[in-house]
Subunit: 357 residues, 2 copies
DNA sequence: TTGTACGCGTTATCAT
DNA sequence: ATGATAACGCGTACAA
């Protein structure tokens, strides 16, 4: 029933178990207190630093903690403190496409969370609104990040009533009262069109029905901005949604139609290959710019001028905001955009006309 | 201080909050009990079903639960029951390469977990052994899944002393006392070599230093089995570790050397393209088999005969085993292999010699 | 600077 | 079939 009052073996060694639950009782702060010869609350205060502790006491307690390899019990802590130290992340619906970018996202989120002693809980998009209600209702987490928000996302509505701060990656139509952040697709569109502003006509090879049907908010956002920028620059913009099974065919059609300036947001590698198959070389025979990660943009024989979506930047900023909310209490709601940048590589021939301010 | 004893508004409606923590106290089982006019413990038993409840009482309680949109508090539940209903998953080190397969893995794991009312917590590989100690020590989870195990994985050693069942995806050198599961790379190797058994010489274009240096256990496993199978079939096996920056060059060298039978495990798309660039067509001019997901194997103009790693199968089996451990107490340790299958497509010319039993 | 004591919301063991 | 009530392990107001 009791743990040795004295030092028992070398700290942390001595466990003999075999992969079982229940090897020699779990160590509690009370055990630490006993070994250290202080009260349980002192142990607690040593760990939290929420009260001044004499250097001597602190040392004794910390030694005891090390000796017993004490770890605070997450459940008990959550119950007492009303803090789980957990951030829930709601996944996108259709992974598989952007798996690489998504993993970067998750990595970054986990990193940011761990940096502040938080853990990350995965919630599938399939759980929908119930998922949100569940993790919030059960007090499984202190905050939620929702990825891949659609224009009419039902999760937006209920987020307003959640007991935990919720951060959306992407902008639903009605973002009032919500905290939303996303890559600045509008600015990205403007920049890309700007790179091709020398052309009379630009073909935008973009997200097809697959994406559009999911109501992903950035498609219309990107489109509107692109159209506007094209109009302002006096270039004609052809909007060509790429269909999974017809990409090569569509590219050929555009090329046959005399397409000299391509703006690509989807199926990049297939588009580039199709262009090359047609005997054309970006940067030599035509201009091609893309919305793509740096890795993707540089993965071809011709490095592409591109606006990168920098998934890591978005997640970093998202987490930074989230922890602000967590620490300072939910600040004012609003929409935040992560700036876009072009990297000029060699897939555009003419140096573009200077950007209009 | 108290919640309405009577029905208050339409169940679940009426919250007015704005994204804040603290909107109208959290609902507890005590509240449910009061509204239902029963004792708190009855509410608990209604939820757990661990004691017979009269139909009448059950209805009343369930109504109250619905009305108040009650959710049990995870922390309190974990504290009292010693069960967190959470499975921790330790990520691979270097994502980015197999991001797609990895996401499939995670999806499947999450699905399986949710099917049994568990959640999934992400742990980065970078946390190493401390990560394991932390999630187990803090009682953050009931079980752990460790992905991408290396031959001399330090996490294997400490897993034996963990208070929670731990499942390894992959086989460390010393698997004694551990629960390990993985795709049957040995059998996969045998099958692939078997498909090429007609050839006098087979070039194995395989994992390069990137992978080998990480001590991934399946590389030597695959190699040994492939060598053995080749020897038995009387074919010479050239082992060619692909280097990230020299893949195309290496493929050309092999082809120039008269390579007529290729066994590919890495950089598949680059290898296939290099072959095609050389004017050769798999299934017509040479034989090519691969270790690849079905999606990858069918992503080329010539569908490839391949052994699929079926990440989803592995994770499903892993989770099934894990929950067995969780429910029936840690069963006997051991190593489990998920069977390999070839899918014959059109990248091999001759129908292969029948497989030796 | 430190100790005492209560409460967090459940589960589960006694009773009845 | 149901109701009290004692843990569960920690945080923190209140005392000293």
């Amino acid at each position: 029933m009791r743990i040795d009052d004295e030092v028992s073996g070398a700290g942390g060694r001595g466990a003999v178990a075999g992969n079982r639950g229940g090897t020699g009782r779990t160590v509690t702060s009370k055990d630490v207190a006993r070994v250290a010869g202080v009260s349980q609350s002192t142990v607690s205060y040593v760990m939290s630093g929420k009260r001044p502790i004499s250097a001597r006491t602190r040392r004794i307690v910390e030694d005891a903690i090390a000796q017993l390899t004490y770890h605070p019990n997450a459940g008990a802590r959550a119950l007492a403190s009303q803090r789980t130290q957990i951030v829930a992340v709601v996944m996108p619906f259709d992974v598989g496409l952007g798996a690489a970018g998504l993993m970067a996202f998750i990595e970054e989120i986990t990193l940011a969370a761990r940096a502040r002693d938080h853990d990350v809980l995965i919630v599938t998009a399939e759980e929908g609104v119930d998922g949100l209600r569940r993790v919030a209702g059960r007090a499984l987490c202190d905050a939620v990040v929702v990825m891949e928000v659609s224009t009419d996302d039902p999760r937006a509505a209920i987020a307003r009533d959640l007991r935990v701060p919720t951060l959306f990656i992407g902008f639903p139509d009605d973002a009032a009262g919500l905290h939303c952040i996303d890559f600045d697709f509008e600015d990205g569109a403007r920049l890309l069109v700007g790179e091709l502003a020398g052309a009379a006509r630009v073909s935008a090879l973009v997200w097809g029905p697959d994406t559009v049907d999911r109501g992903l908010n950035y498609v219309p956002r990107f489109r509107a901005a692109a159209q506007e920028a094209a109009a302002a620059a006096g270039v004609q913009l052809d909007w060509v949604p790429l269909e999974r099974d017809r990409v090569e065919e569509q590219v050929r059609t555009v090329l046959d139609g005399g397409g000299q300036a391509l703006l690509v947001t989807s199926f990049l590698s297939r588009v580039v290959h199709a262009v090359q198959e047609a005997g054309l070389r970006p940067g030599t025979d035509l201009d091609l710019v893309a919305l793509a990660t740096d890795a993707d943009a540089t993965g071809f024989t011709v490095p592409l001028t591109a606006v990168s979506t920098h998934p890591r930047d978005v997640s970093r900023q998202a987490m930074s905001w989230l922890f602000d909310l967590l620490e300072q209490g939910a600040g004012p709601a609003g929409v935040r955009r992560v700036p876009a940048f072009v990297t000029r590589r060699s897939s555009v021939r003419a140096s573009p006309t200077p950007r209009v301010p």
